[in-house]
Each structure stands twice: as C-alpha cells, then as structure tokens.
C-alpha cells in the first residue's frame, strides 16, 4: 500500500472510532551498510522497512501508536486500539494538533534527495569503505590494525497527514563513510575515527581524506598520559564543541523548560554568553542533514535565532510545548519517532563562526588543554553540572605538546557558556549539531599525579 493511502485509511478509521482529531506519520526506509576490515568485506546488510505512527485525540485525551503491519484490516484494528488507549489517559488542556493557518510550504528546493545515493550498490559502497580504510592503514607504520571502515546509505520517504486536511511528504537520502584505525605505541594501543555524512554523493569527502584524517587523529593519541589536577583554559575542537552545543540544544527545547529539567529555565531574554556568541537553528539550509520543509506537525520550518549577541532569544518548540509555555505558535521544531508523540528537537543547530582561525586560539594560551575527545554521560541538564572523561593535547606556551588521556573536564554549563573567550572560524556542518573551535576561560581538569 502506498504511504498516502495508508495514512488516509487510518485517519478515516480513527475518526470512525471516536477520534476528534488525529495525525499520522508514515516512513519507509531502505538501508544498505557495507563494512570492510583489513581490506576484506566484513558485513553487508540490506533492508527495507515501513512504519506508521498514529496520534489520536479524543477530546483533550490523546495516545500514540505505531505499527509495521499495513494490511487494511490490521490498520483499521490498529486505529481502533489507538482510540481505546486515548480514552484511558487523563485530559490535557494543552493537547491538540498544531495550528496550521499559514500553509506556505513553498521555498527553495532543499536538495534532501540524491538518486545516486539511493541507487548506490553494495559494490560501490564497498569501494568507498575500502578506499577510506586503505588510506588510513597506509598512512603510517604505527597504524597496525583497524576496527574497520563502513559505508552506509539510507533512503527515506516520509509522509505526514492530519484530519485538518494537511497531507505532504518528502524523500531524503543520507550516505556516510567512516573508518576506525588502530595504532600501537610503547604504552598500548589507541583508536580514533573520522567520517563524512552527507545527503548528496558529490558532497561526500574523498575516502582518502577521511582515512588520512582518521589516521592523524589516531596517531596523535599515542603515548598519551594523564596530568596533575588543575584549573586551566580549555579549548574544545570543533567535534567536541559540537557536543556542548548539543547540550544547549537539549536545554532550550520546550519540554525541558516546562518540566524544569533545563539549566536555562527562566533565562529567556537574558544574557547567557558573551556578545560575540550567536547560535541558530536553521532547517532551511540546502542539503544539510537536519533540513526539512515542514516539521512533524506540518508546520513550515525556518531559521531561528536561539542566542543573539549572547542573549537567549528563543526556545525550540513544538505546538504542545508552545501552548504550555504561553506562546502563540510553535517554532516549527516538532520532531517525531513514529511511535512517540511529537517532541521539539534541533534541526541544523550551530554556533556561528568567529574570525579567529582555530590554531590562533591555541597559540594565544600559555597553558591549557586542547580537547579532541570526550566520553561518558556526566552531564546534568537540570543543573548544568558537567563532568566528562576527556582526551586531547596539552598546550604549553601556545604549542600543542604531549597527548593527554584519562582526565576529566568539569564545570557548569551556565558558567561554561558565559566564559566562552574565543570562537574559531572553522565551522563545518558535519552533523546536525555543529560548532567551530571554542575556548572556555577556565575549567577543572582532574587527573593523576
């Protein structure tokens, strides 16, 4: 059954079973993954799957159900079960579909789909992965092993429809190539990785560059050691800085604000970072990973200023959190897993680049830590308390010196954003949440010795 037909069928069935409103998301996904290791194929996985998620409202009560069985009879039973489930929960005055007065879905082509990606075969995928791995393995004799390289593609068709008459869909593709080389030094092994994830094949980084970069990142970790605990300036490279932006994104979504689980509760309109800090969420960047024409409630997307001149200017909201927080409209930020209610989420969320090249930031420091990897989950978004395992390079007199590992960096996210002292010029939208290199004035580094 085609996606629009399935959507239409369940919406009708939901209404027949007492739903006063409903919306549905149908997603069909095709995936291909080819993994190679030491130059030989290790894994090939291929699949096609479809899922349908239905949200029903019975007055002010609602429920969400999802299924992978698309037979008409099964879909009708499914819609009826969803309505029955909704009748069991409590009323919620804020429940409802998004208000879709302005139906302007026109706009530039977002270039989300590339048939060269959707048609890429296992052989071509294998070659891309092999090239990336070979480039990493041949880079240096100390690269002795590999956890493998992978190339995967995903093609999705998304269809959204509601009882308010909205019905639209879009197709999108993603291709990624990544490699994890392993290097051996005198005090043990190290691994790191590099990758490229894009929507259009022509935008994919060359596999040779991916391999080289992965090898360089791995090699520079060899002979790493811990350092004595101290308070120093900390530079986060663009990869690790992106994770800080990710924490900020989680803290500005409507749900975190009204639940009180964000360190930014009560900060809207207030300064949270220095004047040169500007953060946006922009769903309209052509070919970017987070782009989409409309959100998971059918609301057109747009570019949002989240932090402007250091001031917190907007939350990310779906229609429910907007109503809860007393705003007239959502920000078009609804996202949705088929089996869950819509939830506000970032699209392309990033810190705008500054003027300073990343190397200059390092050069400006007498002493400090340059962080290139972080592990663990020691982030409390309710309080902003931050403590994560880190690795990177020690900075002495403006130079990167020896590699550092088995240390933690700790502070509080509110202080950390307030203490951003420099923003690099090296922004690249490699993921949905991205950042240039940033310098934070002071953090506690805990280590041994």
């Amino acid at each position: 059954m085609l996606l629009p037909e399935a959507a239409e069928l369940v919406l009708r069935a939901a209404k027949a079973n007492g739903a006063t409103a409903a919306d549905v998301v149908v997603v069909r996904t095709r995936t291909l993954t080819v993994g190679v290791r030491s130059g030989a194929i290790e894994k090939v996985a291929q699949a096609e799957e479809k899922q349908l998620g239905l949200r029903v409202f019975v007055g002010k009560r609602s429920a969400v159900c999802s299924t992978s069985s698309f037979a008409p009879e099964a879909l009708r039973d499914f819609a009826s079960a969803a309505c029955a489930l909704a009748k069991v929960v409590a009323e919620d005055n804020y429940a409802g579909l998004a208000d879709l007065e302005e139906q302007t879905l026109e706009g530039p082509d977002l270039q989300l789909f590339d048939s060269r990606v959707s048609e890429l075969g296992p052989d071509e995928a294998r070659q891309l992965a092999e090239r990336a791995e070979r480039s990493a393995l041949e880079f240096d004799v100390r690269i002795v092993n590999s956890e493998g390289a992978e190339c995967s593609t995903e093609s999705t068709e998304t269809w959204y429809a509601s009882t308010m008459g909205f019905a639209a869909g879009y197709s999108a593709t993603v291709i990624s190539v990544s490699v994890v080389p392993v290097a051996k030094g005198s005090n043990g092994m190290q691994r790191d990785f590099w990758y490229s994830v894009v929507r259009q094949l022509e935008r994919l980084a060359s596999p040779e560059d991916i391999g080289r970069k992965a090898a360089e990142r791995t090699l520079r970790r060899l002979e790493a050691r811990s350092v004595k605990s101290c308070e120093v300036p900390v530079v986060f490279d663009s990869e690790t800085a992106a994770s800080l932006l990710g924490h900020l994104a989680q803290a500005v979504i409507g749900q975190s604000i009204f639940r009180g689980t964000s360190f930014l509760v009560g900060r809207l309109g207030r300064q949270i970072a220095p004047n040169f800090v500007n953060i946006v969420d922009d769903a309209r960047i052509p070919a970017a990973l987070g782009s989409k024409p409309f959100d998971a409630e059918g609301v057109p997307t747009r570019r949002l200023g989240i932090v402007e001149g250091g001031y917190l200017r907007s939350y990310l909201m779906d229609s429910y959190s907007a109503r809860r927080l007393g705003f007239e409209k959502s920000t078009g930020s609804a996202s949705r897993a088929v089996g869950s209610p819509p939830f506000a989420a970032p699209t392309n969320f990033f810190l705008l680049p500054g003027q300073v090249p990343a190397e200059e930031i390092v050069k400006s420091l007498k002493r400090g830590l340059y962080v290139t990897n972080l592990i663990g989950f020691g982030v409390n978004l309710t309080t902003g308390d931050y403590s994560r395992g880190a690795g990177g390079l020690w900075i002495e007199n403006g130079q990167l010196t020896f590699p550092v590992e088995e240390v933690t960096v700790a502070g509080n996210l509110l202080d950390m954003f307030a203490r951003i002292e420099a923003v690099g010029s090296d922004l690249e939208l490699r993921r949905r949440v991205a950042s240039p290199t940033i310098l934070i004035g002071k953090l506690t580094v805990a280590g041994r010795g």
């Binding site: 894994k43 309080t383 088995e406």
Partner: protein, 489 residues
C-alpha cells in the same frame, strides 16, 4: 528448576504465534535455512520477532501520555568465514523470506547448491521468566493508578519536590530462531521497566533524583511490598539530598563503591573489553591476555544470563544458544571471553550464549547479560571505616569505555565524601575515569554484600541497545580519578 515442567508455556506460546497466527510453515524455514546454507557457508540463521512496547507516563500530576508500538519482521543471516550478509524485512510471507535469504546470501557473495536442513523444535534449556500474567496484558488503567500514586507520594514526601516525571514501559517480545542445524528455538521475553525522576527546588536551586527498576517480571512485581514507592522514595531522597550537595573533589583518591548498580564499573572497565569480537580482531586492551593477572586476587567476575527474572537474562541468546554462566576473571586471572557463534568459531572457542541483538533489524554481536563481582569477606562498614579521605559512590548514571586504550568512565549521581572513616557530606555528580586493565588490580577490599541492580540498565554497542544487568558488593579501590571541580592534594 524442575525439568519436567518444560517445554515452558512461553516457548509454545511463541510457536503458536508464529506458526498458527502468522502462518509460518516449517517447510518454509527448511527451505530458507537450507538455501541460505549454501556450499562454503559456515553459518546461517533466521530470527523472527514480534514485539509490542507499551509506555505510560506521568507529569504534572497526570498520566496524559500513553503509547503502544508494534513491530514485526525477520532477519536472515549468512556467514562465510568472518563475513556476514544480513537482510531484514517486515514481510513475513514465503516470498518475503525467499527475498531476504537471497539478499543475505548474495551480499555474502555466495550462491549455489543449497543444503537440506530438517527443522526440529527444541525444548528450551531454561525457563527463567514464565509468568502467571504477561505485563503487556495488564490493563493500562492499573499502570495509570500506580503512576498517580507515585506522584502523590513523592510530593507528600517533601514539600521541596516540585515535579515528578515517571514512566512504566512494558514489553512483550516473541521470538523464533532457526539455526543452521535446524534447531528451532522459541521464546516469549517479557520486560518491565519503571523510572521515577523527582525535581526538587529550594531558593532557586533545582536538583533532580532518578531511580527505577524492573526485570523480566509480572506487573505485580512493581507493587509487591510497595516496590514502586521504594523507587519513588529513592528518587525523591536523591533530589532533596542533592540540594545540599557540595562541589565534588577533583583528582586521584580512594573510592568506595556501594553494592548493586555501581557494578557498572565492571561493565565498562572489563566487560566490553572481554567481548569476543574485539579480542578476535585484536583491538581490545585485553586482547591476547588470557591467563594473565588483570585484577586483584580478591576479584572473580562473572557474566550470568541464567538468573531468574533478571533484566539481562534470557532463556536462549538471540542466536538460539542457551545462556550460561561464564567466569571471566577468576581470582584476578583473565580466563574467558564472551562469545557469539561467529567469534567463537573463528577463535576456536565455544559460544557462551552471549550472541545478542536489539531486534530483527540487527545482526547479533557478543554482548553482556548480567555482569557482577562475586562477594568477598569484608564487612561493608569496616571498608568505609578504613578510608581516611575518599569518595563513597552509591548511585550512577551511565558509563562508557574506549576498548582499545582501555580508558573507561562512569558517572556518579549520588556520592558522598568519606572523611576520617565516616561518610560525611553529599557531593555533586562527577565522572570517574580509569584504565580497565589496571583498575581491578587496585581493589583492596571486597564486601560480603553482593547486590544486583534494580533492573534499569541498557547497554549500547554498534548502535544496538540491549537490556543488561550489573552487580557488585561494596568495594574499595585504591586510586581512581574523580572528576569533580575542586582540586585536592
């Protein structure tokens, strides 16, 4: 367990579902596995799954949200040497099966004559979670009632509790696995997980506490001895106690871990590093170290998938191998790895029943089940008294490991300072970081109070999440880096 009660009703329930309701035919399975197992293929299997997940959640004092997700499909796998071809589909017809099998086989770059395989439905070895009532069948209204009580109880517990977020997620997974030998293993895997988060606020200081539990249990489990109120109380106490927490210390110090969930130490420090795939490939910090001393003689570490009703337990793993109890480290010496079929075969070892997958959409990997340290002889109170200055950590959030460098972290969410042999002030959450192959050598005391966690753990690897358990008695570690904000020493 009394063997005569087998085959369990769970296994026959799953068989009925796949054979009678969905209409799978034994000869389809024979054809599919037979054609998958072409010449030169080393292994093949089919994994059928039908999973229903229901979640009910509370916030603002009301249960306003309920979801129910149903997903079914089959994964077909063909293995040649160390190569895996995998295809999955939601089409459970003979045509769908043929296509999936052909795809799995073609992508393993194999083909040719099929072998003849006769399928035989096997009696399950274990019966670890047959329940009087499936939790998925308990009316949603009962779950709503429990959550409602959680909210009232938490707010009454302390006036500073301002919000309560709680959820009950129940799952029913029916699986049918057909192995290359033609063994058909069926199972019904129930799972219950409850989580309570309390937000406390005082003079602008907002803190949270989270606690929960569950397992492969009936819904009643949450109500026995008012267990759900115990979870609520623990979450509320943690939130309120955190209002008074001081900055955590930063640096290397003595750390005492309390019993139960702090066993996440083992999961990160050694567990992942002992998974067969990483060791076969030589990328684990533990590779090639069987027979070596990797822990203090006080340490015996076990992975046991056969403990009744535990979250990490399974009657058979996701390749149809019966789960078992594997001693990984015996009195400090590394003695075994955790194996699935592929890695066991390539390493010349036996599968240990640790081949697990998130769903039919994922090929199996060697994974942990319930991982814990056997109890020692020390009195837990004496262990604390033995410490002049250090950290006492009793509850944790998540953890992570770099299996190649061996560096691992786990993050304390409830911890206290130990000063002159006494537990004193609560400290803010902090990440602990160490080196897997070294940290257990620094264990100088092991308590007699082994506890298993309450049943909330989920482990991620290669993008696949599976439920796991951990356990630990009270232990003293002489030197672990604590990632607070106040440098000491």
């Amino acid at each position: 367990m009394d063997d005569r009660t087998l085959p369990s009703c769970a296994a026959s329930e799953a068989q009925n579902f796949f054979f009678d309701q969905l209409g799978l035919q034994p000869r389809w399975l024979e054809e599919s596995v037979g054609s998958a197992l072409c010449r030169r293929c080393d292994d093949a299997d089919l994994y059928f799954e039908h999973r229903t997940v229901e979640s009910v959640s509370l916030e603002d004092g009301l249960v306003k949200s309920a979801t129910r997700q149903t997903r079914q499909g089959v994964g077909a796998r063909v293995v040649v040497g160390d190569r895996t071809g995998y295809a999955h589909t939601d089409d459970l017809t003979l045509e769908g099966l043929r296509l999936a099998t052909r795809t799995a086989q073609a992508i393993a770059w194999q083909g040719g004559d099929s072998r003849s395989v006769a399928v035989v439905v096997e009696r399950p070895r274990h019966n670890l979670y047959s329940l009087h009532a499936a939790p998925i069948l308990v009316p949603v209204e009962e779950k709503v009632r429990v959550l409602q009580h959680v909210d009232e109880y938490a707010r009454a517990f302390d006036a500073r509790i301002r919000n309560v977020l709680a959820s009950i997620v129940v799952e029913q997974k029916l699986v049918l696995i057909v192995t290359a030998e033609g063994r058909v293993v069926a199972d019904v895997q129930p799972l219950v997980r409850m989580q309570v988060t309390c937000i406390a606020e005082e003079k602008g200081n907002r803190q949270q506490g989270t606690f929960g539990g569950g397992g492969r249990v009936a819904f009643d489990y949450l109500c026995e001895n008012q267990r759900y109120l115990y979870f609520t109380r623990k979450a509320a106490q943690q939130a309120v106690r955190n209002l008074d927490a001081v900055e955590a210390p930063a640096g290397e110090m003595v750390v005492v871990l309390g019993p139960g969930w702090p066993g996440i130490l083992l999961h990160e420090a050694v567990g992942h590093g002992l998974e067969g795939d990483f060791n076969r490939k030589g990328v684990s910090a533990f590779a090639g170290r069987l027979g070596e001393v990797v822990a203090s003689p006080l340490c015996t570490v076990v992975d046991d998938g056969t403990i009744a009703n535990r979250r990490g337990s399974l009657n058979a793993d996701d390749e149809g191998t019966p789960t078992g109890r594997t001693v990984l480290i015996e009195k400090g010496v590394l003695v075994a790895y955790l194996q699935d079929r592929l890695n066991a075969r390539l390493m010349g070892m036996s599968p240990t029943g640790n081949g697990r997958r998130e769903s039919f959409a994922h090929p199996p990997l060697p994974r942990m089940t319930n991982t814990f340290l056997l109890p020692g002889e020390s009195d837990p109170e004496e262990i604390i008294r033995s410490v002049d200055y250090g950290l006492y950590a009793v509850h944790f959030g998540g953890g992570q490991v770099d299996i190649t460098s061996g560096k691992f972290v786990f993050s304390a969410s409830e911890a206290y300072l130990i000063e002159r042999g006494k537990v004193t002030r609560p400290v803010k959450g902090a990440t602990l970081i160490g080196h897997g192959p070294e940290v257990l050598k620094r264990i100088t005391r092991v308590g007699h109070d082994l506890g298993l966690d309450e049943g909330i753990g989920t482990c991620g690897k290669d993008g696949q999440s599976v439920p796991v358990g951990v356990g630990l008695p009270t232990v003293r570690i002489d030197g672990l880096t604590v990632g607070g904000t106040q440098p000491v020493g």
